[in-house]
């Protein structure tokens, strides 16, 4: 799986990658971005199987990037999971509307795995 991890914190990028591996996801290629514009450039440059985005990033935040991706026909089906320590019902509703998963920091392995798996296979919950 080719994955994009966008977070302005290098430590968090390392931890997200570590959690992906520890939760059994096969990562063949991991590309990192430290802000939203950088992430958008990388999404446009080559396809990804999964993108994990922090909400608070300089230049373009995760929610704005999500909206941009969903509005672009060639990328609109990219599985996306948003990671944040902030959570609110309104935010979760907005993310669900845009077909994005949400991982709340600090996450548990179970939460992490469920959200990533759901993003990768959104039909699973409807079976």
């Amino acid at each position: 799986m080719r994955v994009l991890i966008a977070d302005d914190s290098r430590v968090m990028r390392k931890l997200i990658l570590k959690s992906l591996k520890e939760n059994g996801f096969s990562i063949e290629d991991c590309v990192e971005a430290e802000n939203g514009e950088d992430a958008w450039s990388k999404i446009q440059a080559a396809p990804f199987d999964l993108a994990i985005l922090d909400i608070h990033m300089p230049r373009l935040n995760g929610e704005a990037l999500l909206t941009r991706v969903r509005a672009e026909p060639s990328h609109r089906d990219l599985p996306i999971v948003i990671v944040s320590s902030e959570s609110s019902a309104a935010r979760l509703e907005s993310l669900l509307d845009q077909r994005a998963g949400f991982i709340h920091k600090p996450w548990t392995d179970e939460d992490f795995h469920t959200q990533v798996q759901r993003a990768l296979d959104p039909r699973r919950d409807r079976r």
Partner: protein, 144 residues
């Protein structure tokens, strides 16, 4: 210790458990002659306005960095780690201290280069003994 202190302490312990598999059970240390390492402040706005402050003492910071990244402390930016931890703790404790429905916007963490001083009373403060050193978390709320 107030109910708010207890709530803050419980939230901090829960976060440490999830992040580091650390479940400190020792008594919170009294103010002791343990050297201060660094502090981080996260401002918050919303139903209440104020800031969350996290301070590291006696080697706690280096120990937590090593546990978190699983590698040498020198390989990462210490302020990055301290800031992320403060951000996570702040967002975790605010709903516990106020209500789950309260809405907050948090600022980016900023390092603080001096230990906390006695001043306005915090809404909540707690110390948690770590395998190495200890951490102190406090929540300050601006007057309405």
């Amino acid at each position: 210790m107030t109910a708010a202190d207890d709530s803050l302490n419980a939230a901090a312990r829960e976060c440490l458990g999830r992040l580091f598999d650390l479940f400190p059970t020792g008594a919170s240390p009294a103010t002791a002659d343990i050297p201060w390492e660094r502090g981080v402040i996260v401002g918050f706005h919303g139903d209440k306005t104020g800031h969350f402050r996290l301070d590291f003492y006696g080697g706690a910071h280096g120990d937590l960095v090593a546990r978190w990244v699983g590698g040498p402390v020198e390989a990462v930016d210490g302020n990055d780690v301290a800031g992320e931890l403060a951000n996570i703790l702040c967002c975790h404790v605010l709903p516990n201290l106020f209500t789950a429905r309260a809405l907050f916007r948090v600022e980016s963490p900023r390092a603080h280069n001096a230990p906390p001083t006695e001043g306005a009373a915090p809404l909540a403060v707690t110390r948690v003994a770590m395998p190495t050193g200890w951490i102190e978390a406090r929540v300050m709320v601006d007057p309405a």
